[in-house]
């Protein structure tokens, strides 16, 4: 009996290009499983962004378009609307980092939510600009040491981090906004169910759906993969609580 197989939406022979222990891999695999389960492969255009997330198209065997840093939700808006104008309803999602979604691209992200753009945005929150070597970003926690906050983030110098999922939940056009983590099996299964819901809300035409994933960055955190997960479990979930912040069906 076969108990496990790689998702069909993952390209064969794709090399793992993330750092060892990085949660990007788990997040992409969840997405690939959902593309299989919801039968989306032939009808999807994914938007990759600048950051460690850009290599999405190396893994997923679906149509992908790269976006300039921060503009993924605007690019996705163009893809979705252009297909609609041609009479086609395509499934469109973005895969972005926290810097991409909530710093350089905050305007594009929030306005897509406000417009109720019928797309899904997945944001990998690793509390730093990972690809450029771990600088202070919009989600860096108070006290957190990064290469540009070597004494730790403090409010006088750096101001405060953003709780993205809570902010997006405040936008009227948002159908669904949640935060999940991937530090153990239970959370991975939960993350998959949550992302599935976000995808389904797009399929049902309910508006902007959003999932923020608390994700490890062992390289820049200078922690082992295991300790990175401990950090998420014990520290980050205190600052960025897990849960659903908006569900249009329950509100």
């Amino acid at each position: 009996m076969q108990v496990y197989s790689a998702p069909k939406a993952i390209k064969e022979n794709s090399d793992f290009t993330f750092c060892p222990g990085c949660d990007h891999g788990i997040a992409i695999k969840i997405i690939a499983h959902l593309i299989d389960e919801l039968n989306l492969k032939e009808n999807t255009v994914a938007i990759a962004s600048s950051g460690c997330s850009v290599f999405l198209y190396n893994f997923l065997d679906i149509d992908c378009l790269e976006s300039p840093h921060g503009r993924a939700c605007a690019v996705a808006t163009g893809v979705k609307r252009a297909h609609k104008a041609q009479g086609n309803n395509k499934f469109v999602f973005t895969y972005q980092g926290d810097g991409d979604f909530a710093s350089i691209g905050l305007a594009e992200s929030m306005h897509s939510a406000l417009r109720g753009e019928n797309i899904t945005a997945i944001c990998i929150n690793n509390t730093n600009y990972g690809m450029t070597g771990g600088q202070l970003g919009p989600t860096t926690a108070m006290g957190q040491v990064t290469t540009t906050s070597q004494n730790g983030r403090n409010k006088e110098y750096h101001g405060f981090p953003i709780r993205t999922a809570e902010q997006i939940a405040l936008c009227e056009g948002t159908s669904f906004s949640a935060r999940v983590a991937l530090y153990d099996i239970k959370n991975i299964i939960n993350a998959k169910n949550i992302i599935k819901k976000a995808f389904e809300y797009q399929n049902q035409g309910l508006g902007f759906s959003f999932v923020e994933i608390l994700s490890s960055c062992p390289t820049n955190w200078k922690l082992s993969p295991k300790d990175s997960h401990e950090k998420i479990k014990n520290e980050l979930t205190q600052i960025f609580p897990l849960g659903i912040f908006k569900d249009i069906k329950n509100d």
């Binding site: 032939e42 992908c64 300039p68 503009r71 605007a74 252009a82 297909h83 594009e108 306005h111």
Partner: protein, 356 residues
Amino acid sequence: MSEKELLKGNIAIAKAALNCGCTCYFGYPITPQTEIGEYLSQKMQEKNLAYVCAESEIAAINMALGAASTGAKVMTSSSSCAVSLMQEAISYACSDELPIVVVNVMRAGPGQGYIFPSQGDYNQATIGGGNGDYHTIVLSPSNVQECIDLTYKAFHLAQKYRNPVILLADGLLGQMAEPAELTENPYPQIDNSSWRLDGANSRPSRNIHSLEPNQTKLNQHIINLYKKYELIEQNECDYEEYLCQDAQVIFVAFGSLSRHVKSVCNHYRKNGIKAGLFRPKSLYPFPYKKLNELSRKTPIFIDVEMNMGQMLKDIRLAILSNAKISFIGKPTGNWLREEEIINAADNIIKEYYASI
């Protein structure tokens, strides 16, 4: 056949876009081009097409980037300082080989400048304000009829070469009304089924990206782009020659200003001086070869622009070194009047004949 109607340049561009199958428009307001977006906002909604009042020009051009990846005919429009905001995505679109029509109805700069008419974005358009090795095709209309004709052409070239095309108009042209005919789009539909992103249905998945961590591949990609630009330079030079064949002096001007310069040529012809006008309609590719040919017979070239002489360097590159080249222009304000051009040109011509 439709009849001539009184049309503003901005509206002519908007109507032509719709008429040749533009299904997506994204924009943010800025004078003197706002009527394009206002007109299309209504029409596109009526036809269930894609119109988004974008939150910024950065968002607008990135929406255009996404829309273009679907194979749709896509346009955004803006002006000068706001076109500056679009440069990053234009560079991406060149690398991604995505067809987007960008209309720039120029105002005066640098910075905010003002809504006065100007031709100050010649450099921004033809050299490009984005990073890396790339070119955008640049077309320059001189009257409202050409706003229609060159909009059709812009969409066609964008699709044909899978490259952004800039329609470089100016505030005067955008705002003035004159009779023009909304002709049929003369260009054929171009098949984009081999590259557009519409879901990997019964075909392998595709991806469009500019990032390329493999040095050899990145080099080859840029070399391939330049092979395409070479083709564009061979095939798409577009210009108007007015009384150039026997000319003793040739004025070079682009856009709506060239119409004053035409009257200046008529004035000189009446007074026994053989003057002609050379008007590039494609600013990239610039018609170097034709201008070079003309410089074999004509000794004086006078560049007339509403900027500080941005086209001069291209004219210098084109003409033979023994031909004389002068400049008449100012950065902004009322378009140079015929008398102003004639006064300045009289001196240039006199000086030249005194010197030989």
